[in-house]
Each structure stands twice: as structure tokens, then as C-alpha cells.
Amino acid sequence: MQAKKRYLLLFVTCAFLGYCYFGGYRLKSEKWTGRTQLPYERLPSYLSLNEEFYDKDLRTSNGNIHVSQHTRQCRMESCFDFTKCKQGFTVYVYPVEDVISPLYQKILNVITESRYYTTDPAKACLFVLALDTLDRDPLSTEFVHNLPSKLLRLPYWNNGRNHLVFNLYSGTWPDYAEESLAFDLGYAILAKASMSIFRLRPNFDVSIPLFGKQHPERGGEPGQAPENNFPSNKKYVAAFKGKRYVHGIGSETRNALYHLHNAKDLVFVTTCRHGKAWRELQDEHCQQDNQEYDTYDYEILLMNATFCLVPRGRRLGSFRFLEALRAGCIPVILSNGWALPFHERIDWNQAVIFSDERLLLQIPDIVRSVSNTQILKLRQQTQFLWDRYFSSIEKIIFTVFETIRERLPWEGTREGIIWNTSPGALAILPQFADSQQELPFSNSNPGNTFTAIIYSQLGSTAVLYRLLRSVAKSKYLDKIILMWNSDIPLPRRPRWQGIKASIHVIPADGISHRFYPHPLIRTSAILSLDEDATLNTDEIDFAFTVWSSFPERIVGYPARSHYWDDSKRSWGYTSKWTNDYSIVLTGAAFYHRYYNTLYTELLSSTLHKTVEQSQNCEDILMNFLVSHVTRRPPIKVTQRKLYKDTSLAGIRSPWNDPDHFIQRQSCMNTFVAVFGYMPLLRSNTRLDPVLFKDSVSNLRKKDARVALICELQQKYLPELSPPTLLTDETLVKYIQERRTRAENATK
């Protein structure tokens, strides 16, 4: 035993010696190599302090040497005439003389009914052709022949300057060349689907999505993934169903997909059946592929897959991109070099997964490695983008216009974050304010004062006086603006002179005027009131504090509802008491000042005309607008419903007009037609003060036993002064003491 121990000791000693030697050696050498920090301060700088001066080359003093006149190299500065746009961003559409496809007709309809449209070519900033350029595949039936000569006959063509050309398909079999439009584009801006980043002239051309003939003109279907289930728990991780081309350009990716298909959580099925001659071209795998293809339904795959492959077809983009986006199936882009729609403004990294066609076989690993949190974010973003930019032709065209408009320096630009967060760029007018904090959508504080705007049609009445008095008493009031209907003369000595608030009387002609963005309105909050509203100061103050939590919505008292009348096949409007509501009338409501600007600038002239003609419905239109922008219902506060003073009944108040109600019904249906969908949303909830009708609070007395820690700290732990946070140990000790004491007491 002794000997064994000795030998063990000996061995350990030797091992230790050895370790010291080698370990020490390594340590030493590391120390030696660690001295890499060289005194590079001794080296000269690449930019000597006097070198730049010589670069001032007098020969380049005139003109811009970096601007090329070649149309391939077009940039806004060289190929676009900015002077035409000084009067604003307006779009002229040539009169339609030729046969155009229904799809292009839809585009033209959208433009001519939009707020951008002008009938006067002299005032136009941008020109849109009435010649169908969507399909430039010479083999297609919709191909327009002799386009070059037709272009030359256009009166304002000017080699394409300030023209916008839409295109969905270019090139033809076999190479599907992207640039072959079969006419000379000249200086025109190209808004084209399936563009590649090499062909697209940066900051000049616009990449648009490929959309089909069935794409709705306006409104559009909502996204199909309103659920935010976490984790998403879909049946398939990734899916694809589509044809493959076997040979020719863009066929490799789809041809290889069957390698990844496992019929369990990865479903990638292709078919060779397309065109007439597919049997001649088929390869050895076609038979099997076709069989597998028929066992899956495309729609079901879309709805039940977390990721959807979007591989290139003959051209870079495909219909399935928008289909996947709508279904909330996160697109996996397999289309090398494709400039995704509006890629200069939309950050697609937030909504899709990019992959490289060359690394196709990595797809399973890639899609499985995406975290659940990331999937939740990506899916929500697909729904946001679909809903704001792609769900209708109107949105796509307006997005094209807005990207071009942002390039005009005086129109203002939007930060990337505005484009990529709700409510999206189409609802943000950069001319309203250059700081995002002024908008109701940022989390910044909307301020703690409001401007009351009272619309008066009846003149100076006792009711108005009472209203003014209760508004003036509000501690949040900034100023009162009286919109005075011009028919009634202004009282010489108004009774409200005794009221301690600044009251501005401004003449208003027409009912839309109450939403005019008047420069006197400085606060974010606007309290819009009818002259006969009977709110007291507490109610006003409470509504204001609620609005501060929801500055992007209308918050107010009188709630109304809409419903679908199946017998009349139209929308109905009701003021009956119901269990839900979708409209809060602006007769007594708070909303953000920004909506005044939107109301005036964003809405199309058709809508304004409807309101002007009926001298009614402006409040419904405001509700349409706000719900359209926020996708949220308005908010009703507290119980009060009868907000009108009934003593005025019989006087010529327009509210008592029996036609009034029918008019509102028809307004609503006009609005739905123009918006293309019903933007109003219902809410079941009303917001009351925390202690409203609270039977318990009246009964309950203050619980004296509840002491506060800070007091306790001072009382029991005076050594900890000034008061600091207790450490865990002292707290635990303290609580234990208290517990034992309490237990003793109960015993």
C-alpha cells in the first residue's frame, strides 16, 4: 500500500512538472504573440491634410460630370422634368382611343378617380399612357402592335419625359428578356413587375407586384391570417405547389424541388403539365411529380403552411408572391436578383425569408431554424403589407405614385419606419409635419390641452352659452373656436364675453368646413362639438383623458351603428340603442388634429362632393376615414346618450329633418362604394370612469392595516435613511419577524 501511494505521488509530481513545463511554454508563447498592438500611429494617414485641395478641378466646374444622358442611366435629376411638378403632384391620363385590356382599364379608372388626377395636361406632373403596355409579350393576345409609332403621335410624349409606363410582362419565349418591351421607353419611368436589381434604374424605376386580372380595383380582401397564435402550429412547415418548365430559363429551381419534398411537413409538388407540348419535353420525373401534384390542394396548402416558397418562374416574380402574402404564409424568396415590389421603401426583411437559388437544398434547414417569435413577427408583417399596399389595384397604384412623389424635394419624404409600420405610408401625409411625433400613431405624448371647435348654425342661444361655459371650465382647454355659419349675423355683444377662455369666431361656409385644418388649431386634440351638445365639464375632462390613451381614434359620446340590410342589399345606419357601435359622431367627440388634414387632403373629390351636396354625413365620413386608417373601431365613453338639448326641438335644426336620416343612409352606401369596402368596425365596449356606478367603493372603508413600505422602512429600519431600497436579506428578515409576531398575536 505504502509503495503504491508513493508511486502515485511520484507520478502526480511528474505530471505536474510536465504540465508546468508545457503549460508555461504555451503561456509564454501566447504572451509573445499577444504583442500585436503595433504603434500604427506612426504610419501616415491615407488622406493628407492638403491633398483634397488639389482635387478642385476647374475643368469640371460646369455641369455635372457624373450625369449621363443615356436612358439606361436615367436618374430623376437627368431624365425627369421637376419644373412640371412645382404646382403639386398631379397625374394626367391620355384619352383612351385604343382597345385596352380590362386590367389596364382598372388602373386608369383608379387614377382618374383619385386625388392625383388632373384633366389639364399643362398642369400635369406625371403622364400615364392610354395605351396598354401591361403585356409586352409578342405572343400574347393582349400585345399592342405598332406601339412605337403610336407613342410618337402622342402630343406630350417628349421622348417619354415625365411619363409613367406600367408593365407586368416583358420578353417572350425562349429567353423572356426583361428589357425587351418592344418599344423605346425613352426617359419614361417604368413601373414594372418582376424587375431585377440590375435592370432597375435606382431611384427612378419602380418595381410593382405581379397581380392578376381578378385583383380588385379598390377596397380589397383583408388578409387571411388574422390570428396571432403562438406558436403558429400549422400542419406544414413549408409548401409549394406549381408548374415547372423542365427546360429553359428559370427552370432549374423548380425542377429540383422534388428532392426536398417529404410529404410530411415539407410539401413541394410540381407538375410538368403546361402548354401544348409538355409531353415531348417531359423528363423521367414528370410522371411521378404529376401524381403527387394532384394529391394536394393549393388553397389548403396556403392556409396550412407556415412558409411558402416563391421560386422564380420564367420571369422573376410570380402571382404566388401576393397569394402567399395575403394568406399570411411567410414567403421564402427563391428568385435571385429580383427587386421585390417597392423594395426601395418597403423593408422586406421584416416579412419574407430570402434565400439563394444556388443553395436550394438548404431550404429545409433554413425554414426550421426560424424562431417562433420571428414567425409571429413575419406573419403579422405580411398581413400589414398586404393590407396597406397590395390588396387592391388602387393601393398598388397609389404606392407607385407616393414613391415617385417622395422624390420631389418639396413634397416631403417619409422615413423607412413610416413605410413599414402601421398605418403605412399611404395614410401619412408628409406635408402635415416633418416630425413623426406630431402624428397620432407614434407613442409620443399628444399633449395635455385641446381645442374645442363648436359648429354653430343657429346663432347665439342659451344652449350654446351653457355649452361654452362648461367647455371653458375644463382645465385642459387651450382655446375655443366657433365655426359660425355665415347665414346668421354675428351678435354685436355676444353673451359669452364673460367667459374666461379665448374664443375665436370664424365664418364657416358649408358643413365640411368644420374639419378644415385651420392654423388656429395648435393642439393635437380637437374637441368637436355641435352647438346643442349638453356635456358638463367632468364629462369633457374624462373623455379627454381617455383620448390621450387612444390619440389615433375618435373618442366621444354619441354612438351609432351600421348594419347590413339583406333585404335591400345595402348598408343601413341606425341610431337605436344596440349592444355595439361602429360610429362615434363628431357632435361631441375628441380626435387628432391630423385627421383634419387627412379629411381635406386624402379623400377623393367624389366623397367631398357627396358631403357638400347633402350638407350632411361629414361625421360619418370622418368615421370612415379614421377607421380606414387605423383599422380600429372608435371609442364611446360613459353612459350618456342623449347629448342633444331637446328644448331646441321644433327650431330649424337640420337634425330634426326626417330626410336627414335617409340621406345618411344613402351617404353611407356612396362612401362604401368609393372606399371599395366597409371600413367601419364594431366595438362592444364602452369606457367608463374607474369608479363609475361602483357599489363596492361606496361601502368600503379605508383599510388602515395596509401600511406602505416606505413608511415602514422609516419606522422600523431608521438606520437606512435616507430611504433606500431594502436588500433582500433585510426584507426577508423583517417579514419573518412580522410573521412570527402576527402568529404570536393570534395565539
Binding site: 503595433l38 469640371t60 460630370i65 390570428e227 419606419i417 416630425s435 413623426q436 366595438s683 417579514i735
Partner: protein, 708 residues
Amino acid sequence: MTAPTRLSQKPNRILYQYRNFFITILLMLTLFIVLIVTYHVFKFGDIQHGSTYRALVLNDVSTLPIQVLDRDTPTAGATNSSCSHFNCFNVYRCGSGGNQLLVYVYPPKNYIDSLNRPLTSQMTREFHQILHTIISSKFYTPNPREACIYIPSIDTLNQNRLRVQEVSQALRTLEFWDKGENHLIFNMIPGSVPDYNPMLDVPIGEAMIAGAGMSSLTYRSGFDISLPVYSPLTANLNPGSFSTRKWLILSSQININSAFEQDLMELKTTFPNDIMVFGSCLHHNPMNNTIRCVGEDVYKYPDVLQTATFCLVIRGARLGQSVLLEAMAAGCIPVIIADTLVMPFHGTIDWIRAVIFIREVDILMVVPVLKKVSEKRVIELRAHGAWLYDRYFKSIEKITETTLEIIADRVFPHLARDSTYWNIPSHSGNVSPLFLPITAPKTRGFTAVILTYDRVELLFLLINKIVKVPSLSKLLVVWNNQHKDPPHPGRWPKINKPLKVIQTKENKLSNRFYPYDEIETEAILSIDDDIIMLTADEVEFAYEVWREFPDRIVGFPSRTHMWDNRTSCWKYESEWTNHISMVLTGAAFYHKYWSYMYTTAMPGDIKEWVDEHMNCEDIAMNFLVANWTGKAPIKVTPKKKFRCPECTNTEMLSADLTHMVERTQCINRFSNIYGSMPLRSVEFRADPVLFKDVFPEKLKRFNDIGSL
């Protein structure tokens, strides 16, 4: 060797006993010596054969190995202007590091031509720093065969200091050049007289350029990387004060062409109080870049940039100007007047947030345009510019690292970070993970998660009540008692909804917030086993409210927090007040994602603390949600007596005074961990639209609401 001498004094017998021992020592020592010798031999052998890779050491650049280039060495081939990531970049070289970009740096050499003339001037400080940053970065690999990106160690930063054709020849001689595939060339001053090409004139075949001053006409999108012109002058510059800036606009460039100079002079005469134009010091030393003059007055540059709100960055003969970084460093908002300039890290950084762009033809409009910028916007631009500068441009290291990060995003596009990562400072608040503004669909209903310990009767009572809620889709009982098994399946109430019991391994409060796979709905109703006073109408209504506010906690018992000025502490308040800022999870709806966040992403040691003290889990949840969303919870319907008469025993935690003390302590502790108070107070609660209205009860959707 002291031991043997001591032992020698012992009797012979012992000495003999130890003889074997000494022989072994001797043998061992010999063995070790042999081992050490062989180790040395092998080690040297290794180095001589070069079969392992050693990290590059940037030695003194004066003693570099010399390579002579023949005059007839072919050049690297013309720069391919149609290169893109997809046709010139070989992704197959990038797989060896998994999803990690690996970068190899060629060992630096001194290249000379056959006449003994150097091809470039001495390696510059900045280029040395670039190489050094790469070598010490996480991307570096000493093994060229596993590398994805190759960095030639030929200093190409300044085209004025190199011989174009010869450098191209030198590139061609690099071991792994192969048409330049996957090679990255750094450049900051491209072009030369007379055309000042915005791209390096050295023919580089299919290599990528990380270069400054590129034009959008030649920039190869998604392939090249645009850099800023680094300025050595920024080293000692600080942002200075923001409040008292003497000038609105300042121009300090001395290398812009005469047309722009005339424009500036015109501006100066029209707006003498707004714009300041500094020129070179003709009376002193016009070549000195550290001084600027106005007439006879001499100013120190770049410090003078701190005196203006906006600084003009006008194109010279080259598009890229070093004044951009100088202005950013000095806290002066850059105004870019250079058409077609590709801004640094274009495509990644959203420059609209930090600079103002003005077209060259509009230069005379600069004063009215900038005067229109609102005060708020100026503050935003300045703050964001400072953040950008600090994060991406402060030093050569930052610039180089950002370049590599962007390349990594391109090579591994599925891991690419979005614009939020690059452009939104993390201190500007969280983006709520549930950001889509929707009303949650009703189809799936909600899952009730009941936390219970051993009060079986109460639990069964609760189950029987809650089953009556129409939208309930599943019940999940979290059995938190390890000493007792849950009741036999036969004893549970017979109900028509699925019920699942989960037995936990430890009695922890955080068990109630675990995102169990059994929860298949978005909405979770978290409910204590003693909350038996809620009616079905109330729960159903609360679910409706939650659907309208799916990112918030929506529930019944509310609390608030208050700031106590006297003691400078937060206090916890369960009294009847006009405010609420917390809704307790004893009876509340919330999204399942928050359970996941609670379990995986709770900051600090809050979760452990809660489990240890068996308290405050609800406060922790309220903090978590409020911190992510910036929104207050929503209380539903009037207050109830949440204390059942039959459970006023000592088990009832809430009854304990120490419980309240602990909860105040929690609030202070949590707000310390979060660094601020995330809770928001509101003055409203949610009621059904017709609540307390004089209206036939049977027509109301929710009747049974508000009873005690």
C-alpha cells in the same frame, strides 16, 4: 533532491526499500526529457511545413517580405460593371463556417516592379487599422481554404497613391485570386484627373469594392458596399453643445468647384445672418486643412462646425466628401448636395432620419428649405445623426465591422437583420411583438388556466361556473402541489369542455405563466381557484374586450402604483382610486405570447425572485406587458369583493400585511431592474355598451354584470 539526503541517514533497510523508487524517478525524468525534445522537434517541423494556420500578425510594415512583379504579369481583368451577388459571388465558398462569415487576409507584402519602384506608397494608418480590425474580429480565419471573403493586403484606400495597372497585376498574383471572386477591395478616394471616376480605376475583375464616394450610376447594388470618406480630423471632435448654435447653415469645404462657390457667395449676400461660408486661408497656408478663414479671421477646423445647425456637404470633383463625418462628429446636421451620390452603407442605413438631401440645382433654395425644418425635427435629426455616428462611423474599426456585418447579411440572407435593427436605437422603446392592429378572431375562444394547490372544493366550484362561459374552449388546471396528487379523474365535475390537469414538478408561481403546448388559443384566462364570484356574462364580456385589445392584459381586480414624494419610493395601492395601472392575473385575459415572454425573456432575476418569494408574479407580468407595449392594462366592469367569505383563513396570502409590504417592495425592485417605471395609469375601465342603461334587460347582450 532534499528527500534522498534526508533518507540516507535512515537505516540501510529503508534505503534498500526506496531503491526501486529512485530508479523509477530516474526513468520518469528521462522519459519526460525525451518527450520534451520530441515535442520541440515536431513543433518546429510543423512550422516549417506550414500545415497548420497561424493568425496573421501585422508586424512592422517596414520589414515586409518583398515581391517583385514582372512587367508582363497579366492584370486582374477589367472591373465587371454588371457584377451582382448572384453572378460574381461564389456562395459555395461560404459554407464552411456554418452561418458564420469567414474572412481571410493575405499576408502583407511590399510589391515592387522590375525597376525596383514600389507600386503603392507605404501602408497607411487607416488601411493598417482595417486589416487589424478584420484580424481581431469574429469573422477572421487564418485558413484561406475555408474563407468566404478574401482581403488583399494592398493598400488601395487612396487612388492618388498607387499605380493602377501595376496594382492590378499584383492582385492577379494573389494565391486565391481566380478572377477576383469573393475578394473585397477597400477604397476611399477613387478616380483621378480628369474624369474622377466614382469607382476605383484599378481593374479588379469580379472583386467587390467597399468604397467611398460611389455614384448610383456605377454602384453595383447588392454587391458593392458604400463607405464614408473617413476623416482623421474627427478623432478629437465632440458633438459640442446643441443649444447655442450661432449659424443656421455653414459651409466649410475648400475643395468644391467654382460654380458652387459662386452660388454660396450669392447665398451669403442674400442671407448674411443665416449662412456662414468659410474658405481657405490664402494669407496663411492654403494647404492646411485644419484652419478656415473668413477674410482675415482664422478659425480652427473642424471645431468651427460646432457653431452651426446645418452643415453643407457639397460634391467636389469627387462625390464623397470627408466633411460628412466631420459634420456628424460635430453634431451638425449634414445637408447633402451631391446628386447620384450613394450614401454610406446605402440600403442598410435610412439616411432620411439623419440628413437632409437637396438637389444640386436647388442649392440657392437651401436657406428657405432649411428654415422650414421644424424645431422638433431638428432635434430628431441631430439625435439620430449622433446615434448613427456613434454606432457606425466613429472609427475605422466601426466602419470595417459594419462593412463585414452587411456582407454577412448578404451571404446569409435568411439571417439578415431588418431595418429596425440597423436604424432604430434600442433606447427609443420596444416594438410590441403584437403590433398588428386587429380585433382577435372569436373562432378559437380562450383557454382558462387555473392555478391551484389543494382547495379541491373551490376548484370544482370554479370549474362548474366557468364552463358556462360560451367562448371557453379548454380548461387547464395547473396542479401546483407536489405532496398531494390531483383528485382521481372520476371525481372531477362532468363538463362538456376538454379539461387537462398539469402536475408541476415544483411549487412555483411561474408555473401559471408557462406557455403549455396544451394552450392552443391566443387568449389565456388566468384565474385563481378562489375567484368564484365572476358571472359567465362578466367573463364572456371580458373576453370580448380582450379581443378588441389583444395586446393588453384585460381583467377584473385592478391595482395602481403611485409615487410617494415624501419617501421617494413607489407605493403599491389596492385602494379604490380613480386610476388603475395593473390588472392582477388572478382573473385576467392576456395573449399567450406574454406567457412565453414571461418564461423566456424576463429581465434580470425577476422570475427567480418571484418564485423564491411566492409573490408578485402578477406585478411582474404587468411590468412585462407594459414595458413591451407602452400601454396600460384594461379593467373590466365595476369592482368586486374578491374575497370569498369562506376563504378568510391564513392561507389567503392577500390578507397578510407582509404580503402588501412585499408587493410595494416588488414595484420598487422591478422598476429598478427595468431602469424606469414602465407601468401606465389610466382612468377608465371597460363596460358593456348598455351597462346600467334603462333598457330591457333581455335585449342586453351582457346582463349579469356588476353584481357584488
